[in-house]
Symmetry: C2
Subunit: 296 residues, 2 copies
């Protein structure tokens, strides 16, 4: 048995960067004190979800990597000797003109980024969100802010497991989960900001929420791996973030799930040997006949 | 609303071809009398599941298309004015030597085949199963009998809907469902022969069964389409076929589900406009960034 303990910090995001960084650090410390070895935060947890509209001022929220947030969390990772998955609105100095429409004169490119920080405090790698939602404009206008990533789908070799960290809308696409697993990921983390649109009927809302959990569990099944979804909770403008962060195993079984409406930390043990056991019975990765383009 | 009624004939397979053809025809007639317009049968329903071992005599079960089974069911389709999805162990005369190991001197190639018969009794098209399970040898030794299909993933243009009909083990692979949807399939049928191995624990058995439903529901979600799984029931040698044939909608919601242990016919109405509604909200097919090789 190759057991590893994951920690998921489900957060209700507050008004200021300082408050949110503080509650993230408290969440990490709490998870670490309960034995968590890899700990993940929700998508863009440093600020209220600014993509419910198109506001050029919000580009001021972006920061570099390394930068203040990665520095602060690298310190926490090293202190607690834990691996972290951290979502950051990233800006990268660009010699070429940015493709981001609202910032065509900006010297920066902007990405929706995950970084993986190792237990020595060093950045192991980063991922730029590939699938950028664009509709509806008053809910998820992310294409105004972020370019689609061109770093590919990295697998982070942490001391305890090979992991990928994709982001929110990526979770609806089986191809990117397959690509991560084909490159060796044993766990896929999905920092997320998704919720209900209160203008929709209960029937549609329930359908969307159940579909969200089902499609992610299915990536675990198709690839015989673990899935960890880390969501926000609380209502911000038009979105009632539905929480229910969860971890599922290679059978798609939900091992642990958070509430819809509370900030809370999930701790769960995963036996990574389940993957190799299942791949003897159900070798889906080896026996797939239709392959993706490129190296996958 | 573009409503269509599907019929699924879940069967406990009997000893002889005549008995099984008769119960299939009775199932089709019953579904038609309840308004079903497209009716599907389980995988290889004409005989006990012969792939629990490697018996060269079983190649005698194979037949040509057109042949006695397609002729008999074409007649039923035309009489009842319904579209049928029919699973047949097919042999095709081959000028080249067969690749099937046990039949290297055979003048035939052997496939695990679905045909789609239109309401005029004519064969619309056929599909050769692509993903052929090979393990464990006393449960699913299909690679002894069938070559992997080389016909691609056809979409059958029936009078009421564009449908694909994949087969059993195919249902574990998101890529082939994506390929069918990308080619226009609005419904994917999965004639199936899957069940529990009584030698496994209840925990593993429950996990496998739930995974089977989840992965198929997820194909519906990822592609905004309907899924229809038609399974056997009853115990045959080492396999307790788990029934639970079902239809799910583009949210992955199970609209109707059969029992684990009874022959029964499911009838369900599907509003195919759900697909176009959902693709405005969740345009996964258009917004996927990682594409499959070839034309998909």
């Amino acid at each position: 048995m190759r057991e590893i303990t994951l920690g998921l910090v489900q957060m209700k995001v507050l008004a200021t960067r300082e408050e949110n960084l503080n509650q993230a650090i408290k969440g990490i410390e709490d998870c670490a004190s309960h034995g968590a070895q890899i700990i993940a935060l929700p998508e863009l947890f440093l600020a209220p979800y600014f993509c419910q509209g198109k506001d050029p001022k919000k580009f001021e929220l972006a920061e570099t990597i390394p930068g203040p947030t990665s520095d602060a969390l690298s310190k926490v990772a090293a202190e607690k000797k834990v691996t972290l998955i951290v979502s950051i609105f990233e800006k990268i100095a660009s010699s070429e003109q940015s493709k981001t429409s609202a910032n065509s004169s900006s010297p920066f490119k902007f990405f929706n980024t995950n970084i993986c920080i190792g237990p020595d405090g060093k950045i192991i790698g980063k991922y730029h969100k590939i699938h950028i939602p664009s509709e509806p404009p008053d809910l998820f206008a992310e294409d105004f802010y972020f370019e689609s990533g061109e770093l590919g789908i990295p697998v982070f070799e942490t001391p305890l497991a090979k992991v990928s960290a994709l982001i929110c809308y990526d979770q609806w696409f089986p191809e990117i989960a397959r690509a991560a697993a084909a490159k060796g990921a044993e766990i896929i983390f999905y920092p997320t900001a998704i919720g209900w649109d209160p203008r929709l009927s209960k029937e549609i809302s329930d359908g969307e929420h159940d579909a969200w959990q089902t499609i992610q569990r299915s990536h675990g099944i198709a690839n015989n791996i673990f899935i960890a979804a880390i969501n926000r909770t609380g209502t911000e403008d038009n979105i009632n973030f539905w929480g229910t962060s969860f971890v599922s195993d290679p059978y798609g079984r939900v091992l642990v799930k958070a509430s819809t409406d509370k900030s809370e930390n999930l701790i769960v043990k995963c036996d990574l040997d389940t993957t190799s056991y299942m791949r003897k019975e159900w070798p889906f990765l080896d026996e797939r006949k239709l392959k993706l383009k490129d190296q996958f």
